[in-house]
């Protein structure tokens, strides 16, 4: 057994027992990053010197009794979290010179717990994408291959670098952010677990904003237990985020062995979309059978406004993005392109600094918020969003959790689904509704496609009931016994 076979929980135990030092573990991971990252491109910026310093400090804490479960654990930080003194790009050219003078709350909490940061993980530009191909720093390669093929596959997105880093074992865990599926879909594509917590559970302070009413940070790791250990540290009230929830954070690991006996699991009929890949539907049925076998009661439910989720999302998210990204004007930070006057400087700076997907979304957002169109698009979308929330509220009067597939397909090839933006957007069809309602949702690896690629199931819970999400996810994980590994990985 190599060091890379250890999960976060196992590595933590080994560190506390003195079977391995943080320096040994970190050194092994730094070496693995150096070997595999030039190909996978999971990190935009690596910080080996910082990681070694943090590892030495972690070893001191492990000796003097101040260590936590995360002390000495080498992780990847999505490059959307501002890190003091370490360049933060959000995957965009416009932020290429940006070195934040301050630390995001979530990354700060992980640092304070003693986690070691290996570097900043690649992502779709400003987290806008489902394939990691919109990054200005190049696409990320999925470490998985279709059986008998060497074609490069996408890791999903937007947290594609985080997902690949964890799956390829060049990080023991990672942070992600999820606005419409950006933790769950890449987790599904790379055979790892990831949770988008309830909106308000993790502070948004210091996370480069995309769509503020949807953005939520969460962990990505190999197991459900590893995710619980990470979320224990990442969650919590923060005065610096006006939408942070002042609600006590339970120990999420306590839920892991709860089981699902007597729990009511909803199966929404509207997620059985016409034309969905039969493999995905078969895996979903398998998941239902696993939960029944484990003693859960399965209940058919209806979320009637599900089919409008994507349309609402592609009005609301661009609207908020157009407003949030107005700050990139080449004046206070970021890259500037000179012009003949101030307006010309703005227009040239933004034309050169933003990629095509970001420009598209800013323009759609600008349009739906503009005079004469606001009511027809934005206000209408907000009203349908209220109906989507109501669907979930009514469902959770009947059930404890909801089970669905995470994504409509396995990982696809680099360059596929590029015909038009809407085809790419359909990736998020199963993940977007939970984002709009603000409820927590987790993706757990549950099986392999006929081509040998990982597929995930999604477990959705009620507001602030991540505990039940963890309990159900752990039951799925146990029943699935997913042990397959990607071809490209540190050994």
């Amino acid at each position: 057994m190599s060091l890379f076979d250890l999960t976060l929980a196992q590595a933590s135990k080994a560190l506390h027992l003195g079977e391995v030092t943080a320096l040994e573990l970190t050194t092994a991971y730094i070496k693995a990053v150096e070997e595999l990252n030039p190909r996978l491109n999971a990190y935009i910026t690596t910080t080996p010197d910082l990681a070694l310093d943090q590892a030495l400090e972690a070893d001191m804490r492990l000796q003097n009794g101040t260590a936590t479960a995360l002390t000495g654990i080498p992780i990847a930080m999505k490059d959307l979290f501002c890190t003091a003194g370490v360049r933060t790009t959000a995957g965009s050219k416009i932020l290429s010179p940006f070195v934040p003078p301050y630390e995001s709350t979530v990354s700060g909490k992980l640092k304070a717990a003693g986690a070691v940061t290996l570097g900043k993980a690649n992502l779709d530009e400003f987290a806008m994408g489902s394939s990691n191909i919109t990054s200005a720093y190049g696409p990320v390669e999925n470490p998985w291959k279709r059986t008998g093929s060497d074609a490069k596959l996408v890791p999903g997105g937007s947290s594609g670098g985080s997902a690949t880093a964890v799956a390829a074992r060049i990080a023991l865990a990672a942070t992600g952010t999820d606005t419409g599926g950006s933790i769950r879909q890449p987790a599904s594509f790379t055979g790892i677990a990831g949770i988008k917590p309830t909106y308000g559970r993790c502070s948004r302070y210091g996370i480069v904003a995309f769509a503020s009413s949807l953005d939520q940070a969460g962990p990505m790791a190999r197991t459900v237990e590893d995710n619980a250990l990470l979320l224990n540290v990442m969650a919590g009230f923060d005065d610096k985020d006006s939408t942070s929830a002042n609600i006590a954070v339970p120990d999420f690991t306590a839920a892991l062995n709860q089981g699902v006996k007597g729990k009511r699991i909803g199966i929404p009929k509207e997620y059985r979309l016409e034309g969905t890949n039969p493999e995905i539907l078969a895996l979903w049925d398998q998941g239902i059978a696993w939960l029944k076998d484990a003693g859960a009661e399965v209940v058919d439910i209806s979320l009637p406004h599900t089919k409008y989720g994507l349309a609402v999302y592609y009005i609301v998210a661009p609207a908020e993005a157009s407003s949030n990204l107005a700050r990139y004007d080449g004046v206070r930070f970021g890259a500037r392109v000179d012009g003949v006057d101030l307006i010309d400087m703005y227009e040239r700076t933004r034309a050169a600094g933003f990629g095509t997907e970001v420009k598209r979304r800013i323009m759609i957002g600008t349009y739906v918020l503009s005079h004469g169109y606001y009511d027809a698009y934005y206000l209408k979308a907000q009203k349908v969003r209220a109906l989507i929330l109501r669907d979930f509220q009514q469902a959770f009067e009947q059930v404890d959790a909801i089970l669905t597939p995470t994504a409509p397909s396995a990982a696809f090839g680099l360059g596929e689904k590029m015909d038009d933006p809407v085809t790419m957007y359909l990736n998020d069809v199963f993940t977007v509704p939970a984002s709009l309602a603000g409820v927590p949702a987790m993706s757990v690896p549950a099986g392999l496609s006929s081509e040998g690629l990982p597929l995930g199931l999604q477990i959705i819970g009620n507001h602030f009931d991540e505990a039940t999400v963890f309990a159900v996810s752990a039951a799925i994980e146990k029943a699935a016994g997913f042990t397959a590994l990607p071809e490209l990985r540190a050994k």
Binding site: T243, R332, R350, T366, L379, A386, Y425
Partner: protein, 95 residues
């Protein structure tokens, strides 16, 4: 509602993004595809529904109106593309 080239240029101007003529045509078809997709919302009956603006199931807090920060102009200006003393510098606005 379908956008024409003039509308695309108007939106780009509002968004402060410079677009050249070749881009306008591509953007026009892409933006129209997205608007065509979201058009389905017109089928939803939202009579009497209060719009939902956020994911937080709570009222926004207010904080005390006191200074909590300050005296860090060097830190703030460190990322400025151009500066004059303690100010951000921009092209001349008033002749």
């Amino acid at each position: 509602m379908s956008l024409d080239a003039a509308a695309v240029r108007r939106i780009a101007r509002l968004a402060r993004i410079r677009v050249d003529d070749a881009e306008v045509e591509t953007l026009k078809s892409e933006l129209n595809a997205i608007l065509g997709y979201v058009e389905q919302l017109s089928a939803v009956d939202v009579e009497g529904i209060t719009p939902l603006s956020g994911g937080a199931q709570m009222a926004l807090r207010q904080r005390a109106d006191i200074l909590t920060d300050g005296g860090i102009s060097e830190k703030i200006l460190a990322n400025a593309p151009d500066r004059e003393g303690n100010f951000f510098a921009v092209p001349k606005v008033v002749e």
